[in-house]
């Protein structure tokens, strides 16, 4: 028991600078959680607590802990850790910058407590970033002290036999939202959580377990995959793909590839061009024919099966890619009619006769219930908004014509940008004026151009006035034009 010294030689300011990243709090925590997942003991469930109570952030796992040798190398800057530790298939990082960057992102002071499996010892290391930065340059400037003691129940590891705890204090950002952390971890470690990893966020208000993320995809966009290809049809890919309700600018989209139920590649994008517009595509495929070493070689591998898969699946995905792009184009995702059209086209392309069941979809108002659209759920707000009276039109021989204007969502009339209904009540009802109802059809492509609301209404109304005069009141065109122009001048005046 005692203290051992580890020599470290970079500039003292490096430690401060490596924390000046663009990592968010949850991303930094995610990096530490990834380390914990890498440290799991095969065949044993891994549990990771993220304790954000008070002025600290602690990430505590029940993994195999670090032996002195591993810890000695871990505290060195930029050491290739794969030389010292055996990582699981899905290991996320090998170079020893992760925890230092992440801890330095979170705070100015951090400690590591670790109990290696099979040893009755607890190692403890502390890093005081401010203190390091003030050290002079020189060979001893980066010395790191590793204390070894008997396991202490009052340490963050409590009574655990093995495991590691990172405890960060003097936090740079005291604003900690447990849901932001949980949501991030649920996305980043979905396969691990699905496979039983237990990640719990502990806050002053309670404990919140990260759950298996339910994918929220656009209704009807899920397409089953059952593709056979290659020489003598020797390759077979099964699974499914769908379009996410959101675009993803965090890279968390694409294919999760499984080999014999084991995740071998996460968010792979080899079969389509990665772009924000295609970032709705997500899916899970089973490719049992892949090499057992696929996870090591990754998608760079040149196996015949992978090469055939790439050619075949790139072609297979084309319509899904188009649909992702179409839905991502300006405003389409919020336009229920447009979404339905795109999804219907997608289903036709993949020969889906009936809308496929979408058990994982999360319903919300934007996407509707998809049930029979009975009148009981219809409201005027669903398709028509803001009926507004406009400047009336006064004709010498017809009297006053009231003008009103509204916008309508309408599937049938996308051929027209606007139209009108004229009701001449002068003969039926002396008390009521004739009315010109101008309707702008919001779905028309013309309105996808940038045009302000007032210009749109004036454009539609002046055209409707002209047409009404010619078509309904039999004015000759030159007179109709003159009246229209007068109305327009008055309206703009």
């Amino acid at each position: 028991m005692g203290i051992r010294i580890v020599k470290n030689y970079p500039s003292p300011r490096l430690m401060e600078n490596i924390g000046a990243t663009n990592q968010t709090t949850q991303e930094a925590i995610g990096e530490l959680v990834a380390n914990s997942l890498d440290a799991r003991i095969p065949g044993e469930p891994i549990k990771i607590d993220i304790d954000i109570r008070g002025d600290e952030i602690a990430i505590i796992d029940n993994g195999k802990g670090m032996t002195f040798d591993v810890l000695e190398n871990a505290v060195c800057i930029a050491e290739d850790m794969s030389k010292y530790v055996e990582k699981p298939d899905s290991a996320k990082g090998f170079f020893g910058m992760g925890f230092k960057t992440s801890c330095s992102t979170l705070g100015y002071y951090y400690e590591i407590y670790t109990r290696p499996i099979g040893e009755e010892v607890e190692y403890h290391v502390e890093f005081d970033i401010a203190e390091y930065a003030n050290r002079p340059n020189g060979a001893d400037a980066w010395d790191v002290k590793i204390e070894d003691n008997s396991p202490n129940p009052s340490s963050p590891l409590g009574k655990a036999k093995h495991g590691t705890a990172f405890v960060v204090s003097k936090l740079k950002d005291n604003q900690k939202y447990p849901s932001a952390i949980r949501n991030y971890l649920e996305r980043a470690f979905k396969p691990e959580i699905k496979n039983g990893a237990e990640i719990v966020i502990i806050d002053d208000s309670g404990e919140y377990r990260a759950e298996v993320l339910v994918d929220e995809y656009i209704r009807g966009s899920r397409i089953e995959i059952d593709e056979v290809f290659g020489p003598n049809n020797k390759y077979h890919i099964t699974g499914w793909m769908a379009l996410n309700k959101q675009t993803n600018n965090d890279g968390n989209y694409g294919f999760n590839i499984y080999r014999k139920k084991q995740l071998v590649a996460q968010y792979d994008k080899s079969w389509f061009t990665a772009h924000l517009m295609t970032s709705r595509i997500f899916d899970e495929v089973n490719m049992d024919f892949l090499d057992a070493t696929f996870y090591k070689q990754g998608v760079q591998q040149a196996s015949e099966g992978w090469l055939y898969s790439k050619i075949h699946m790139t072609q297979f995905l084309k319509d899904m890619v188009s649909a992702s792009r179409d839905i991502s184009r300006g405003g389409n995702v919020n336009n229920q009619t447009e979404v339905k059209r795109i999804v219907s086209k997608l289903n036709t392309a993949y020969h889906v006769v009936e809308p496929v069941s979408t058990p994982e979809v999360h319903e919300d108002a934007t996407y509707g219930s998809g049930e029979a659209e009975g009148t009981s759920t219809t409201s005027i707000h669903d398709s028509i908004r803001n009926v507004i009276s406009e400047d009336s039109l006064i004709l010498q021989d017809q009297g006053t014509i009231q003008i009103a204007f509204f916008e309508q969502e309408n599937d049938n009339n996308t051929i027209l940008p606007f139209d009108y209904i004229f009701s001449d009540l002068s003969e039926d009802d002396d008390n009521q004026k004739a009315e010109l109802q101008v309707i702008v059809y919001k779905n028309h492509p013309l309105w996808k151009k940038k045009i302000d609301d007032e210009t749109r209404s004036i454009l539609a109304i002046q055209d409707s006035i002209y047409r009404m005069l010619v078509e309904k009141l039999q004015y000759d065109s030159s007179k109709a034009l003159k009246i229209r122009n007068e109305w327009l001048t008055k309206r703009l005046g």
Binding site: V387, N412, I421, D453
Partner: protein, 218 residues
């Protein structure tokens, strides 16, 4: 099966037959139109009406008979048909009753606005404000909180995050948002909801704000 021309001629006959009731016209035109693959523009051109007028009568065809009979009884101008066809039963009944009442009471005076606007305002009394109007009720403080919270979630694009901040300041100064701004804000709030920045039973100590915003958003 009748030819396209014969069907168009049928529609024309029904449309111009003044002895038919509105219900008979609606059912007749609707049955003929949908009996064969017609398109709105061709059919409207043939009967010399605007596509919007033909569309309005076709839309009425989806209504229950009792509502259609009530429309016939009140006989509102056809400028109101698209509204009546797209409203809920309750909204339509409210508007028709108000029209009837208005007709009886205002024999001496004229309506100050278009009847379609009157019908719409009656419907809104039943349906409440539009989704965007409700979004306009969110306070500047609540928007400011969401703007701050988003910084931790990084759920919005840089542009949307900055716009949310400026909307918060605008509301804090007591200024209303324009329809275009409200639409933008609605999209932003939907993103925040989708990315779980705003959720019911929030565990971030901001349950009241989240619930308040979701009540208006949903």
């Amino acid at each position: 099966m009748k030819s396209k021309y014969e069907v168009l001629e049928d529609i024309k006959q029904i449309w111009s037959n003044d002895t038919l009731s509105l219900t008979e016209k609606v059912r007749g035109v609707s049955n003929a139109y949908y009996s064969i693959g017609l398109d709105l523009l061709t059919a409207a051109t043939y009967i010399k009406e605007t596509p919007a007028e033909l569309d309005a009568i076709l839309s009425l065809g989806a209504l229950d008979d009792d509502i259609l009979e009530k429309i016939e009884e009140v006989n509102p101008p056809k400028t109101t048909w698209p509204l009546l066809a797209n409203a809920s039963r309750e909204e339509s009944l409210q508007a028709l009753s108000a029209l009837e009442k208005n007709k009886a009471e205002s024999s001496e005076k004229q309506m100050p606005c278009a009847l379609s606007q009157f019908v719409y305002s009656q419907m809104v009394e039943i349906s409440g404000p539009t989704a965007e109007q409700k979004i306009g009720m969110i306070s500047g403080d609540d928007l400011f909180h969401l703007w701050k919270k988003n910084k931790s979630f990084n759920a919005l694009s840089e542009k949307d995050a900055s716009v949310l901040g400026s909307f918060a300041h605008q509301r804090k100064r007591g200024k209303a948002l324009t329809p275009k701004q409200l639409k933008w804000l609605t999209d932003i709030l939907r993103t925040l909801k989708d990315k779980k920045v705003i959720e019911r039973n929030s565990i971030d100590g901001d349950q009241e704000i989240c619930n308040r915003v979701l009540d208006l958003l949903e």
